[in-house]
C-alpha cells in the first residue's frame, strides 16, 4: 500500500462539488421538455419531424466538425443537442426539412465550431442560425400555421406530416396564419388601429395558453416560464438576465402604450408573445455569450429587452429578440470589461484600500 506509484499527483482542491457540464445541459433540456411536448401536441407530426431533423443535423454537424478538428468528442455533454433543440423551438413548426437541416448545420458549424467549439463562440449558435435563415429565407421563415392539435380534425397524420416536412405536399393555405406580432405589424402598416386589430385576433389572452400560431418556443410560454423557474430554483441560471429582459421590454412598452395605445402594444402582449420567455430564460442566459457579473447581466438583459421592444415597434421585423440577443452577445466582452467585481482589500478601481489602524472595536 505504501508504493509510491499508487498515488499520482493531482492539484488541490481534492474535492469537488460534483457538478459537470452534462448535468447542466440535461437540466436545461428537462426545463424545455414540457413546452416542447406541448408544441408537438398542438402542431402535430410536422413539428415533431422538424425537431428531429434540426437536432439530428446539429449532432451530425458536431461530430463532423470534431472529426475535422481532430479533437476529442464532446457530443455527450449535450451542448450540441441543446443548440439544435433551441433552434427547433424558434422555427416555424411546419417548416420544411431542409430549413431544419440547414439551420442545424449553420448553428453548429458557423455559430460554434469555427470559433473553436464549446465555450469559444461569441454569439449564441441557435440565434445565429435563426437569424441567418430569417434573412435568407424570409418567406419560409414567417410561414406560420394555426394550431391543429394532434388527433383533431384536419391534423396531418404521421405519413401526411412526413410529406409536409419533406416538402412533397405544400402546407395547405387554410392553416397558414400570421403570428400575433406579425399580425399587429401588418395591421399597423395598413393604418389600422391596434386595439381593434387585436380584438379581431382574439386579444392577448391566447398568447399565454399558447394555442395560437407561432414557433414551438413561443406557444408554450407558460410552460417555458415554468421551465425557467425550475432553472432558477436549480441554480442553473440566476434571476438577473430574465428579469432584466422582461423589465427592459415591459417598461418602455407600458409607457408607450399608456401614451398612444393605438400604435403601441401593451406590455402584457409584448411579454406573452414571440419568443420573449424562451429568449429571456433559455437564450439570453447562455453562459458562453452573456456577461458574468450580476451588474453586467442586468445591463445586458435590460439592453436586450429594450432593443427587442424597439425592433418590434419600429423595425422591419415583427419579432426582434434574436437580433437583440445577437447584438448584446457582441457587447458582452465590453460589458464584462466594465462590470468587474470588487477585489477584497481593494477599491473598485483596484487600488489597495486604506488601512484603518486604530481601535479594534
Amino acid at each position: 500500500m505504501s508504493g509510491r506509484e499508487l498515488f499520482m499527483a493531482a492539484p488541490a482542491p481534492h474535492a469537488h462539488v460534483g457538478a459537470d457540464v452534462g448535468r447542466t445541459m440535461r437540466r436545461v433540456q428537462l426545463a424545455l421538455l414540457p413546452a416542447t411536448l406541448f408544441g408537438f401536441w398542438i402542431f402535430g407530426w410536422p413539428a415533431v419531424n422538424l425537431f428531429v431533423i434540426t437536432v439530428g443535423a446539429s449532432l451530425l454537424t458536431e461530430v463532423f466538425c470534431e472529426r475535422l478538428r481532430g479533437c476529442e468528442s464532446r457530443l455527450w455533454d449535450g451542448s450540441a443537442l441543446l443548440t439544435g433543440w433551441l433552434l427547433a423551438l424558434s422555427l416555424p413548426p411546419w417548416a420544411p426539412a431542409w430549413i431544419g437541416a440547414l439551420g442545424g448545420f449553420i448553428a453548429i458549424a458557423i455559430g460554434k465550431q469555427v470559433y473553436g467549439g464549446l465555450g469559444q463562440n461569441l454569439f449564441n449558435p441557435a440565434m445565429v442560425a435563426r437569424v441567418a435563415l430569417l434573412v435568407s429565407f424570409p418567406v419560409v421563415m414567417t410561414h406560420w400555421v394555426a394550431p391543429l392539435p394532434l388527433g383533431s380534425e384536419g391534423a396531418p397524420g404521421f405519413i401526411e406530416g412526413l410529406r409536409i416536412t419533406l416538402g412533397v405536399v405544400p402546407v395547405p393555405d387554410a392553416v397558414t396564419s400570421a403570428s400575433l406580432l406579425g399580425h399587429a405589424k401588418t395591421e399597423l402598416s395598413r393604418g389600422m388601429d391596434l386595439a381593434q386589430a387585436l380584438d379581431a385576433a382574439g386579444g392577448t389572452l391566447s398568447a399565454w395558453h399558447g394555442a395560437r400560431p407561432g414557433s414551438l418556443g413561443e406557444t408554450g410560454a407558460l410552460l417555458l416560464l415554468l421551465g425557467g423557474l425550475y432553472l432558477l430554483v436549480r441554480g442553473v441560471i440566476r434571476w438577473h438576465i430574465p428579469v432584466a429582459v422582461f423589465a427592459g421590454l415591459a417598461l418602455p412598452a407600458a409607457v408607450a402604450h399608456a401614451i398612444d395605445p393605438s400604435h403601441y402594444l401593451p406590455a402584457t402582449t409584448h411579454l406573452a408573445s414571440g419568443a420573449v420567455v424562451l429568449g429571456a430564460f433559455f437564450i439570453a442566459t447562455d453562459y458562453v455569450t452573456s456577461p458574468n457579473t450580476a451588474s453586467g447581466q442586468l445591463l445586458y438583459g435590460l439592453g436586450i429587452g429594450l432593443l427587442t421592444w424597439i425592433i418590434r415597434s419600429w423595425g422591419g421585423y415583427p419579432e426582434g429578440i434574436a437580433f437583440a440577443v445577437l447584438l448584446f452577445n457582441a457587447l458582452t466582452p465590453v460589458i464584462d470589461r466594465y462590470c468587474r467585481p470588487r477585489i477584497m482589500g481593494r477599491t473598485r478601481r483596484g487600488a489597495p484600500i486604506r488601512a484603518t489602524q486604530g481601535s479594534a472595536e
Binding site: 500500500m1 505504501s2 508504493g3 509510491r4 506509484e5 499508487l6 498515488f7 499520482m8 499527483a9 493531482a10 492539484p11 488541490a12 482542491p13 481534492h14 474535492a15 469537488h16 462539488v17 460534483g18 457538478a19 459537470d20 457540464v21 448535468r23 447542466t24 464532446r74 455533454d77 451542448s79 467549439g117 464549446l118 465555450g119 469559444q120 453562459y287 458562453v288 458574468n292 457579473t293 464584462d336 468587474r340 467585481p341 470588487r342 477585489i343 477584497m344 482589500g345 481593494r346 483596484g350 489597495p352 484600500i353 486604506r354 488601512a355 484603518t356 489602524q357 486604530g358 481601535s359 479594534a360 472595536e361
Partner: protein
C-alpha cells in the same frame, strides 16, 4: 460590545463554498496519544522561511525536546528531537511534498523512553516581559499550526512592527475532514485559553476573539466554559463557510474590517493565531517545552478508525495510519493520499512521509470523496467567479494564463488570489484553476527575479561604463589641465611680457 460593532460583525464575505464537512465521526472519537515510533524522520525545514542547520552529529544521543536544528535567518524556526534516542542519520528523507523529492532531515532511533531534556519552566508567564515570551516561543520552535507554519514568535512579539489591538484566534477549522482543532478545544480548552491569555499579554492586544464555526457545538461549549472569568477573551460563533479560516476573511467576519490588499492584518491592528498554536505557546512559555508533537486528524473513507491522534513530529504517515487500525479492507481502495485538508492540502505519493509541524491531517480518500470526474473546456458559467471569496474572475485569469499572457492575468488580480480552491471546487468543467494560478504566479516570480538580475547586470554594466568613462574623462581632463597649465604658464609668461610692455605704455599713458 457596541451597536456599531454588532452591526459590523454582521458583515460577511461574498463567495466561498459549502463542501460536505465529513468531520464526524472522526471529530467525536476521543483524542489518542501515539507512543514514539521506532524511528522519527525530522525534516530541517518545516516552516515558511530558511531551513534550520543541524547541530547534532550521527551517533549522538539526544533527549526529547533537545534542539537538533538551529534556525537560520529572521524567518526560521528551531527544530527539536521529538523522542529520546540516537541520531542514526542526517541526510535526505522523503519530503512531505507532492514531488516526493528528498529533503534534509535528521533520523532518530527512539529508545522508547521519551525522556525530556532539561526544560526551562516559568511559574508566572504574566510577569515575563513580552520580548522574553517571544524569545521562549522562538526557542521552542513554535510555528503556526493552522497549516501555513509561519514562525509564531515573529507575529507574537511585535516583530511585524505594528501595534496590535485585537488578537484573533483562528479556531474556525473550515477545511472539510479535519477536526484536530475541534478535538483540541474539546479536550484541552483550559490549556488553549491559558495560551491565549499569554498571547494577549505578549502582543499587548486589548482583547482576544476566538472564532469557531457553528458546526462545532461541543468545541464552542468547551471554550465558552473555559473563558468564563476571562473578561478580555470572547468566543465568537461564526457561520460555517469555506474559507472562513483564511486570515483576511476571518478578520472581516469578526470585525467587519478589510485588510488592505498587499497589506497584513497588523496594518489594521489585528494579529491572528491558530488555536493549536496557543497551546504550543503555553507549553513553551510555562514549561519551556518545545513543539515536538501535534494533533493530526486521520480521516477518509479508507481509514479503519478515523480520529485524532497526538503524533510525535517526524512520525511517518503510514505509522500513524497503522496506529489507527490501518486501511479498511472492505473498501474499493484509496484514490488519494493527502496531507492537510482536501481544499488546500497536498497529495503525497507515499505513506512514507513524516508528519511535520504544519500537518493537520492525513487523509486517505476514496474516489467518491475526491469527486473525480471528466473535465472539459470552460463554458463561462461564472460559477468560479461567484465562489471566489476574494472577488476575482478565475475564468478570465485562467483564460489569460492558458494563452500564456501572465501579465494580463496579473491585471485581473492574480496576486490577490489566496489559492483557496473554491473556484476549482465548483467548476463543472473541472479546470485545474488553482494549478494555473500557481503556475502563473511562479512564472511572474521567475520573471521578476529575471528582471532583477537583468537590472543588476545593467546597473553593474552601467557602473562599469560610467567608471571607464569617468576614468577617461579624468584622464582627458588631467591632460587638458596639464596642457592648459603649460599653456597658461606660457601665456602667463607672454602676458607678463605684454603686461610689462603695456605697463610701460600705461604708465606712460598715465603720465600723459
Amino acid at each position: 460590545m457596541g451597536i456599531l460593532d454588532r452591526f459590523l460583525r454582521a458583515a460577511h464575505f461574498s463567495g466561498g463554498v459549502h463542501p460536505d464537512d465529513h468531520k464526524r465521526p472522526a471529530a467525536d472519537a476521543p483524542l489518542r496519544v501515539m507512543p514514539p515510533p521506532a524511528r522519527v524522520y525530522v525534516p530541517l525545514v518545516q516552516h515558511i522561511g530558511s531551513p534550520a542547520r543541524a547541530v547534532v552529529a550521527v551517533g549522538d544521543l539526544v533527549k526529547m525536546g533537545q534542539r537538533i536544528g538551529e534556525p537560520q535567518g529572521a524567518v526560521s524556526a528551531a527544530i527539536h528531537a521529538s523522542t529520546s534516542g540516537r541520531v542514526v542519520a542526517i541526510g535526505d528523507i522523503v519530503a512531505p511534498h507532492p514531488s516526493g523529492l528528498p529533503v534534509r532531515g535528521i533520523t532518530i532511533e527512539s529508545d522508547c523512553r521519551d525522556e525530556w531534556c532539561e526544560l526551562e519552566a516559568c511559574d508566572d508567564p504574566f510577569a515575563l516581559d513580552p520580548a522574553e515570551i517571544g524569545r521562549r516561543v522562538a526557542q521552542a520552535g513554535v510555528v503556526g499550526l493552522g497549516g501555513a507554519a509561519f514562525p509564531s514568535a515573529v507575529k507574537l512579539s511585535g516583530g511585524l512592527g505594528a501595534r496590535v489591538e485585537l488578537l484573533i484566534i483562528n479556531a474556525s477549522e473550515c477545511e472539510p475532514f479535519l477536526s484536530c482543532d475541534d478535538r483540541l478545544m474539546r479536550d484541552r480548552a483550559a490549556e488553549a485559553v491559558d495560551g491565549i491569555a499569554i498571547m494577549l499579554h505578549a502582543t499587548g492586544a486589548r482583547e482576544a476573539r476566538i472564532g469557531i464555526e457553528d458546526n462545532k457545538p461541543e468545541a464552542i461549549a468547551a471554550m465558552r466554559a473555559a473563558v468564563a472569568g476571562q473578561a478580555r477573551i470572547r468566543v465568537e460563533v461564526i457561520p460555517t463557510r469555506y474559507p472562513m479560516g483564511s486570515e483576511k476573511h476571518l478578520i472581516l467576519v469578526l470585525t467587519g474590517r478589510e485588510v488592505p490588499a498587499e497589506g497584513r492584518p497588523s496594518d489594521i491592528g489585528v494579529v491572528v493565531h491558530n488555536v493549536g498554536t496557543a497551546v504550543a505557546v503555553r507549553n513553551a512559555v510555562r514549561f519551556g517545552r518545545p513543539l515536538v508533537s501535534r494533533i493530526v486528524t486521520l480521516n477518509g473513507a479508507c481509514v479503519r478508525e478515523p480520529g485524532n491522534v497526538e503524533v510525535p513530529i517526524g512520525t511517518l504517515a503510514g505509522e500513524v495510519l497503522a496506529f489507527c487500525g490501518g486501511m479498511r479492507g472492505d473498501h474499493d481502495g484509496p484514490a488519494r493520499l493527502l496531507l492537510g485538508g482536501p481544499m488546500t492540502g497536498m497529495q503525497v505519493p507515499t505513506l512514507e512521509v513524516p508528519v511535520i509541524k504544519g500537518t493537520g491531517g492525513i487523509l486517505v480518500l476514496d474516489a467518491a470523496e475526491v469527486g473525480e470526474g471528466d473535465g472539459g473546456p470552460c463554458i463561462r458559467c461564472g460559477d468560479c467567479m461567484r465562489a471566489c471569496p476574494v472577488g476575482l474572475l478565475p475564468l478570465e485569469i485562467a483564460a489569460r494564463v492558458r494563452a500564456g499572457e501572465v501579465d494580463k492575468a496579473a491585471g485581473f488580480g492574480l496576486a490577490d488570489c489566496i489559492a483557496c480552491g473554491c473556484c476549482a471546487y465548483v467548476c463543472p468543467s473541472r479546470i485545474p484553476l488553482v494549478q494555473y494560478f500557481h503556475h502563473a504566479k511562479g512564472e511572474l516570480a521567475a520573471r521578476a527575479r529575471g528582471t532583477q538580475r537583468n537590472e543588476t547586470i545593467r546597473t553593474l554594466t552601467r557602473a562599469k561604463a560610467d567608471r571607464i568613462e569617468r576614468d577617461e574623462r579624468e584622464k582627458a581632463e588631467a591632460l587638458a589641465r596639464r596642457t592648459a597649465a603649460s599653456l597658461a604658464a606660457a601665456s602667463e609668461a607672454s602676458a607678463a611680457v605684454e603686461k610689462a610692455a603695456a605697463g610701460t605704455n600705461e604708465e606712460s599713458g598715465a603720465c600723459a
